[in-house]
C-alpha cells in the first residue's frame, strides 16, 4: 500500500461528503450553487481555515491551543484601537503588528508548555481567560466601530483581485505555504515526528519542547492575522469577538482527520474539515432550517462525521494467512 493511499481515502471521503452536502443544499435552494454564493461561503470560511491550520500543527505535536479565539479578540482589538487612534498607520504595518503580537501571545503559551512542562490544555485554558480579560482591560469594555476605522483598514480584506477577495487569497496562500512546509521542509516534518513519537523524536535529535513551542508561535501568529481579518471583516471590535470559536477550530481539525493523540494530520484534510463546517454554517441559514434546530443539527452532523471518519480510517489488520489449507501432521 502506498503511503498516501490511506490518507487519500480518508480525505476523498470527506471531500465527497462536502460535495454531496453542497448538492443537497443546492436541491433545496438552487441559488446556493451559484459561483458567487460558493465563493462567498469560501471567503466566509477563510478565517476558520487559517486558524484550523495553525491548530493542526499544535494538535499534531500532542498539544491543544484553546486560546486562539481569545488571541483573535486581543490582537483584533489592539489593531482596531491603533487604527482608530492613528489612522495614518498603513494596513501592512498593522497586519505585521497583528501577526507579531499574535505570535507573541502564542509564544507565551509555547514557553509555558516548553520550559515549564505544564500541559497545553491547562496553559491555554488559563491564557484563554487572561487574553480575553486583557481585551476588556485594554478597551474598558468599549467597542471600536466602523466609523472609527480608516477606509483602508476596512477595505483591505474585501478588495477583489482576480474574482476573489484578498481575504480568500490570504487563506489560499496560508494553505499553500502549509502544504509546502509540511511536505518539503524539515521544519514542517518535525511537527509530525515530534508528535508521532516524542521519544523517537528525541532520539533522532529533535527537541520536542522546542517543536511544540514553534507550533504555538505559528498558531498564535495566524490567530493574530485572523484578529485583524475578523475585526476588519465585521468592522467592529469588542470583548466577545470570536467567543467560543476555539471549539469550532478544534472541531474543524478533528473532522479533517487530525488526531488528538498527535502525529497525524494533513493540510488537505484540515482544510476540508474547515470547509465542511463552513458549508454547514452557510447552508443552514440558506435552506431556512428553524433556528431552534440549527444547533442540534450541527451537533449531530459533527458526531456523524467523526464516526464516519473513524470508520474510514480504521486500518485493516495485517493478513498472515496465505495458505488456508490444513496440513497438520499429528505426531
Amino acid at each position: 500500500m502506498k503511503p498516501l493511499s490511506l490518507i487519500r481515502r480518508r480525505e476523498s471521503f470527506l471531500g465527497v461528503v462536502i460535495l454531496v452536502l453542497i448538492l443537497a443544499v443546492g436541491l433545496i435552494t438552487p441559488e446556493f450553487l451559484s459561483a458567487g454564493s460558493l465563493l462567498g461561503a469560501f471567503n466566509d470560511t477563510s478565517i476558520l481555515i487559517i486558524l484550523a491550520l495553525g491548530q493542526m500543527l499544535v494538535i499534531v505535536t500532542r498539544c491543544i491551543d484553546l486560546s486562539v479565539a481569545a488571541n483573535v479578540a486581543l490582537t483584533g482589538m489592539v489593531v482596531a484601537m491603533l487604527n482608530a487612534s492613528y489612522p495614518f498607520i498603513a494596513v501592512p504595518w498593522l497586519l505585521l503588528l497583528a501577526m507579531t503580537l499574535g505570535a507573541l501571545l502564542g509564544m507565551i503559551n509555547g514557553l509555558l508548555v516548553w520550559r515549564l512542562g505544564v500541559p497545553a490544555i491547562v496553559v491555554t485554558l488559563g491564557t484563554m481567560s487572561i487574553y480575553r480579560g486583557a481585551v476588556f482591560l485594554l478597551s474598558h469594555g468599549a467597542w471600536v466601530n466602523a466609523h472609527q476605522m480608516s477606509a483602508g483598514f476596512i477595505e483591505f480584506p474585501r478588495t477583489t483581485i482576480a474574482w476573489l477577495p484578498v481575504m480568500s487569497w490570504i487563506a489560499l496562500t496560508v494553505v499553500l505555504v502549509f502544504f509546502l512546509l509540511t511536505r518539503y521542509w524539515r521544519f514542517g516534518r518535525d511537527f509530525f515526528s515530534a508528535g508521532g513519537n516524542p521519544t523517537a523524536a528525541f532520539y533522532t535529535g529533535i527537541d520536542v519542547g522546542w517543536v511544540q513551542f514553534r507550533a504555538f508561535v505559528i498558531s498564535g501568529l495566524l490567530a493574530g492575522l485572523c484578529g485583524y481579518l475578523w475585526v476588519s471583516r465585521y468592522a467592529v471590535a469588542y470583548v466577545d469577538v470570536a467567543n467560543g470559536f476555539e471549539l469550532q477550530v478544534v472541531a474543524a481539525c478533528v473532522i479533517g482527520g487530525v488526531s488528538i493523540m498527535g502525529g497525524i494530520g494533513t493540510v488537505v484534510g484540515c482544510v476540508l474539515g474547515a470547509l465542511f463546517l463552513g458549508v454547514i454554517n452557510n447552508a443552514l441559514p440558506v435552506i431556512g432550517v428553524s433556528p431552534f434546530w440549527q444547533m442540534a443539527i450541527s451537533g449531530a452532523v459533527i458526531i456523524v462525521a467523526v464516526i464516519a471518519n473513524s470508520r474510514a480510517e480504521r486500518r485493516k489488520g495485517r493478513v498472515i494467512l496465505r495458505t488456508p489449507t490444513l496440513n497438520m501432521a499429528r505426531g
Binding site: 524539515r186 521519544t199 523517537a200 523524536a201 535529535g205 486500518r315 494467512l321 496465505r322 490444513l326 499429528r330
Partner: protein
C-alpha cells in the same frame, strides 16, 4: 588489525538516576573492524551507557574520547555527527511516517539552497539500503503497516544510512527470528569488513560467540572485566556477569502428565489463523514455535478473548466456553502473560503490589473496598517466590529493571491461581540469571499440576523446556512434535515452511 587506536573510549563514566547509580566509573574501548559484546544482567547499565554515548543522557562525570580526542556529546545530533549510530533496544520509530522518512528523520536529504527535502532521492536511497540488508520493504509504506520484525529491519537500515564509525546494537535480536538474525550476522560481518567499530549488546550467549571479537562485562553499573572472546568460556562470562555460577538454564523436571485441562478445536480467524486445534494437559509445557509474525501471538490473544473475529471452541476442564474478554478468561482459569511487557503486561506507574493484585481485585477485596493488607500479602507471597528484587512492594514497577518487571508480570498471573497459563515470549530481553529463574519457575508450576503454553522464538528454550512442540507457519499449525522426536533442524524446517531444511 589496528588494535592500538580505539575509535571510541570511555573512561570513568558515571551516571546516576534518583536512587540508582546506573553507571559507576565504567570504561569501554571500541576498536575499528572489531565487534565488542557488552554483557551484563538486566539493569547492569548497558542501555544507559548507550544513551549516554549518544547524547540522550548527560553523564554526571567521566570522559568520552573519539579517536583519542576528548568530546562532549550533548545531543543525539552531535553523536551522529561524530559518526556514532545506534539501534536502540526499544524500536524508536515513527508509526505514522513512511519507511523512507523513518530512515532519514532528523537527517533528511535535501537539495537546493532552500534545503528542500529531496523525496525521490530519499526513496531511492532507502530502497537501496533495505535491499542491501535483504529486507524487501517498499520505502513508501507507512511504518505502522509493517510487522515488528520488519520494523527492526527499518531501524537497522536507519542506523546504516549514516556513514558511521561506530555502530551500536542494543539487543537487536530480541524481536528477530531465525532468518533475520542470520541476516544481521551478515550485516555485522560487512560492517567489520569496512572497519567500523561495532558494539553488540545481547543476552544470548550463542550470539556472542558467533559474532563478537571482544567482550566487556558490567555488573550493577560497574566495570567487571574485558578481553578477547577467544580466551573465554561461556561459564566464565556468566560468572563475571552475575558473580556466581548458573548451573542449568533449562531445568526441565520430569513431571507426570495428567488429564487434558484445555482443549481447543477448530479455532479460526478470517485473516490471521485457521484451524487451530490442540489440547494441553495438566503438568505439561506445550511449546509454540514459529518465526516472528507466524501468528502465534494472534492465536493466544484470540484464546484470551481479545479478538472479536475469532471462532471456534475452547473446553476448559471439560466445560465448553468462548471468551469475549480477558476478564472471562481469567475467571475460567486461563491467563496470558503478554509479549509486550511494558505496554500490555504491567502498569508502570503503579506500585508492585497493586500490579499483582490488579486481576483479582474483586476476589481480594470484599464488597469492593480496598484492603491493602491482603494486597501486600499477595505481593509478598508471589514476589518472594519469584525473587523480585525491589526496594519495597510499593515501589513503582517502572523503576525496576526489565527482568524484575517480567517477574512481576508472571507473579501477577500466578497469583490468580490459574489452570492454564500462556507465556508469550516469557524470557524476551531478560538476562541469563532471570531466565533461569523463569524456567525453574515454569518447572515448578507444571509440577504443581498447572498446564503451561509457552510461545517462544528461541530454539534452545523451546527444545529445553517443552514437552510437546507445535510449529506454526503463516497462521497454520504445520507440525506437532513430541519432546523426544524434536530437534533444531526439524523445527526450523517446519517453521520456514520447509524451505530452510
Amino acid at each position: 588489525m589496528q588494535r592500538d587506536q580505539a575509535v571510541l573510549s570511555l573512561r570513568n563514566l558515571t551516571k546516576t538516576f534518583p536512587g540508582v547509580k546506573a553507571l559507576d566509573g565504567v570504561k569501554l574501548d571500541l576498536y575499528p573492524g572489531e565487534v565488542t559484546a557488552l554483557v551484563g544482567e538486566n539493569g547492569a547499565g548497558k542501555s544507559t551507557l548507550v544513551k549516554t554515548i549518544t547524547g540522550i543522557y548527560q553523564p554526571d562525570g567521566g570522559d568520552i574520547y573519539v579517536c583519542g580526542q576528548p568530546v562532549v556529546i550533548q545531543t543525539p545530533e552531535q553523536a551522529r555527527q561524530l559518526g556514532i549510530t545506534v539501534i536502540h533496544q526499544e524500536t524508536v520509530l515513527f508509526d505514522e511516517l513512511s519507511v523512507a522518512e523513518n530512515i532519514f528523520a532528523g537527517n533528511y536529504l535535501t537539495k537546493g539552497l532552500l534545503k528542500r527535502l529531496d523525496w525521490p532521492q530519499m526513496y531511492q536511497r532507502s530502497g537501496e539500503i533495505l535491499a542491501q540488508i535483504d529486507a524487501p520493504i517498499d520505502p513508501q509504506t507507512p511504518l505502522k503497516e509493517l510487522s515488528i520484525a520488519q520494523k527492526h529491519m527499518v531501524a537497522i537500515a536507519r542506523a546504516l544510512s549514516v556513514d558511521a564509525r561506530v555502530v551500536i546494537l542494543d539487543e537487536p535480536t530480541a524481536a528477530l527470528s531465525y532468518h533475520e538474525i542470520e541476516e544481521l550476522y551478515r550485516i555485522i560481518e560487512r560492517l567489520k569488513q569496512s572497519s567500523k567499530a561495532v558494539m553488540f549488546i545481547t543476552h544470548k550467549f550463542d550470539e556472542i560467540f558467533a559474532v563478537a571479537d571482544r567482550y566487556v562485562v558490567y555488573r550493577d553499573g560497574s566495570f567487571v572485566g574485558e578481553g578477547l572472546i577467544s580466551n573465554v568460556r561461556e561459564e566464565e562470562l556468566v560468572e563475571m556477569m552475575v558473580a556466581r555460577s548458573i548451573k542449568d538454564t533449562y531445568p526441565k523436571q520430569t513431571v507426570d502428565i495428567g488429564a487434558p485441562v484445555m482443549e481447543v478445536e477448530n479455532f479460526c480467524h478470517p485473516s490471521e489463523f485457521t484451524n487451530i486445534s490442540f489440547d494441553v494437559h495438566a503438568g505439561e509445557i506445550l511449546g509454540f514455535y514459529g518465526l516472528v509474525g507466524s501468528g502465534r501471538t494472534e492465536v493466544m490473544q484470540a484464546l484470551y478473548g481479545l479478538s472479536k473475529a475469532a471462532t471456534g471452541r475452547i473446553m476448559i476442564d471439560g466445560s465448553q466456553t468462548r471468551f469475549h474478554s480477558p476478564a472471562e478468561a481469567i475467571a475460567a482459569g486461563l491467563v496470558y502473560v503478554p509479549e509486550e511487557r511494558q505496554q500490555q503486561g504491567v502498569v508502570l506507574n503503579l506500585p508492585i503490589f497493586q500490579n499483582i493484585s490488579l486481576p483479582q481485585l474483586s476476589r481480594l477485596n470484599r464488597w469492593g473496598f480496598l484492603n491493602e493488607q491482603s494486597e501486600y500479602e499477595l505481593a509478598r507471597e508471589y514476589g518472594e517466590r519469584l525473587n523480585v528484587k525491589a526496594a519495597s512492594w510499593s515501589q513503582e514497577v517502572g523503576n525496576l529493571s526489565g527482568g524484575n518487571q517480567q517477574k512481576v508480570v508472571i507473579g501477577k498471573w500466578l497469583a490468580t491461581q490459574p489452570k492454564v497459563i500462556i507465556l508469550d515470549e516469557p524470557t524476551k530481553g531478560i538476562d541469563i540469571a532471570s531466565k533461569a529463574a523463569v524456567h525453574r519457575f515454569m518447572s515448578e508450576l507444571v509440577a504443581e499440576g498447572l498446564a503451561v503454553i509457552m510461545v517462544s522464538s528461541e530454539l534452545p528454550e523451546i527444545l529445553g523446556m517443552a514437552d510437546r512442540i507445535i510449529v506454526m507457519h503463516e497462521g497454520v499449525m504445520v507440525k506437532h512434535f513430541h519432546r523426544s522426536e524434536a530437534n533444531a533442524q526439524k523445527i526450523v524446517s517446519a517453521a520456514t515452511g520447509g524451505k530452510a531444511a
